[in-house]
Amino acid sequence: MLTIREVSHFFGRRPALRRISCEVSSGQMVALVGRNGGGKTTLLRAVAGLTRPSEGRIEWRGIEMARISARVRARQVAYVAQNPGLSIDLSVREMVSLGAATRRREGGLDGLVQKVIEEIGLGALHDRPYHELSAGERQRCVVARALAQHEARGLLALDEPLSNLDPGETMRVVGILKARARDGALVVLAMHDLPLVDKVADQVLWLEGGELVANGTPASVFTPERLAQTFHCDFVRGPQGLSLGR
């Protein structure tokens, strides 16, 4: 249960989020969409507790997110950054273990790490240095880390986790996330592939210039007018769902 109350955020004087309020509940897959610079990353970072918004509160299970200690939060909230990085030399397995390390007390983590790596399709690469991966492989490695970190019924905040993924891997990752949501997790992810959002998201938050301009089911949010007006291109809703027109 995540509650966002009147959240605004400023970079210097420039607003990036303006009085955003909404609620999203666990067991759902929530997509953040909107134009570039709309504030998705800013909101996701606040949701993941990485910044305290300039104004307003974000509550996770009733507690203000930014007040939860990093260690406690890490066990409930996993975050995938839009620009991940690594300054030393770790292998895929080691990188994913970083996520599992937050749950050290649980034990049996090697198994967990192995399972997640297999699940995300990096089994053959588990010993490769992260720096020698292709972009899509890196992206999956980082998602795998979040999966290893994430506990059931927790919050997965993912900033464009599907970028650089091929269609097959995209579906794989979406499938995994869907399954997590079904198991009771709250999955919040920023993404730009609207046809896919339309297919898989339970709830859509549409951010525009830092304002929450729409909030609801994909079908209710993705009206042809709004899509055309915002993106200046024709999305049509056909038998296959939303797709880009000619």
Partner: protein, 334 residues
């Protein structure tokens, strides 16, 4: 911990032990100062043990301090003395000596020695920490700038004090800056240093995952449960205290703290949990071996200063290992 890491740690430990044995057996037992090899006499043994203890303790401090600092600053150029610790210690020692007459008079002669160095190093640490913040959190780049500046200022002040000395004694006083391995160490200090290394190594091993996580971006590290602010304070304090202890023990021997972490990384990869053991071992091995070797080298001016040996011995070894291991330092961002 995988096999390679265990092997590397065992290898470094063995190297250190053989180095200790070498230092114990090699010496100048004859009255003519000739080189001898064998178990030392009862009078001599404590001296060699003292030197081994000093070198090993200081080497461990330096190796671990360097590792913590390179992790803290995410910069491969970082070394224990970048934060101005040796400069602070040098300044405090020099000032204390300057006033040693006055200090001795009030019955605090011990202040003039190792304690002054420690106090100086820790004072600099506090100043750098105060200056190295940005929006409340220790910030690597700001720390680097503040540390280098404060370090240079302390160095300058030391020069200032030195320039007040008679020229005939100036040369001597420089020998302090070359570092030394006391054969009659301040034993409590040795124990403090060893305890500090043990403490910091345990902490760093336990924080191993956090240190690994901290080598990602700030956001990722935070979301992985690292309180960067707190971790940086821990790293900073630990690295500072270790560097201060090494300075108090052996004076400034900067090179070891730079080389040991890179060496350990070249041997066993980048995981901090294991490096927290390997890096101090590497530091100690370098320093003990250097001290052992310099017993046998005499160009007619007595033993070489330890700093000369660490550089002449550690430098080439380091370069060759780095070249062979094709510097597995992956993402060091430079």
């Amino acid at each position: 911990m995988n096999g390679r890491r265990a092997l590397a740690i065992a290898g470094l430990a063995a190297l250190l032990l053989v180095g200790c044995a070498a230092r114990l057996l090699v010496g100048h037992a004859g009255p003519d100062g000739a080189l001898t090899f064998g178990l030392p006499s009862e009078t001599i043994a404590p001296l060699r043990v003292g030197a081994i203890a000093s070198a090993a303790a200081a080497g461990m401090c330096l190796g671990l301090s360097g590792l913590l600092l390179q992790a803290l600053l995410r910069n491969p150029l970082a070394a224990p003395f970048i934060l101005g610790l040796s400069a602070g210690a040098g300044l405090a020692t020099t000032i204390a000596a300057w006033f040693s007459g006055a200090i001795a008079a009030i019955g605090l002669a011990w202040l003039a020695n190792s304690l002054a160095g420690t106090v100086g190093a820790l004072a600099v640490l506090a100043i750098v920490a105060a200056l190295g913040r940005r929006s409340g959190v220790l910030d690597p780049l700001t720390l680097i700038l503040a540390g280098t500046v404060i370090s240079t200022i302390c160095g300058a002040l030391t020069l200032l004090v030195q320039s007040l000395m008679p020229p005939s004694t100036r040369g001597d006083s420089w020998t302090w800056f070359m570092g030394q391995v006391p054969e009659i160490p301040d034993w409590p200090l040795v124990w403090v240093a060893v305890a500090l290394v043990a403490l910091c190594a345990v902490v760093a091993t336990r924080l191993g995952d956090e240190l690994d996580a901290a080598s990602t971006t700030d956001d990722e590290a935070t979301s992985l449960g690292v309180s960067l602010g707190r971790l940086r304070i821990v790293l900073f304090t630990g690295a500072g205290a270790l560097a201060a202890a090494s300075v108090a023990l052996c004076g400034p021997i900067a090179f070891v703290g730079f080389v040991a972490p890179h060496l350990a990384r070249g041997l066993m990869g980048s995981r901090h949990g294991a490096l927290a053991v390997a890096s101090p071992l590497a530091g100690a091995a370098i320093l003990v071996w250097a001290d052992a070797l310099r017993q046998g080298i005499d160009f007619g001016a007595g033993r070489l200063p330890i700093g000369v040996l660490t550089a002449l011995l550690g430098g080439p070894v380091f370069l060759s290992i780095m070249r062979r291991s094709r510097v597995r330092t992956g993402g060091w961002s430079c």
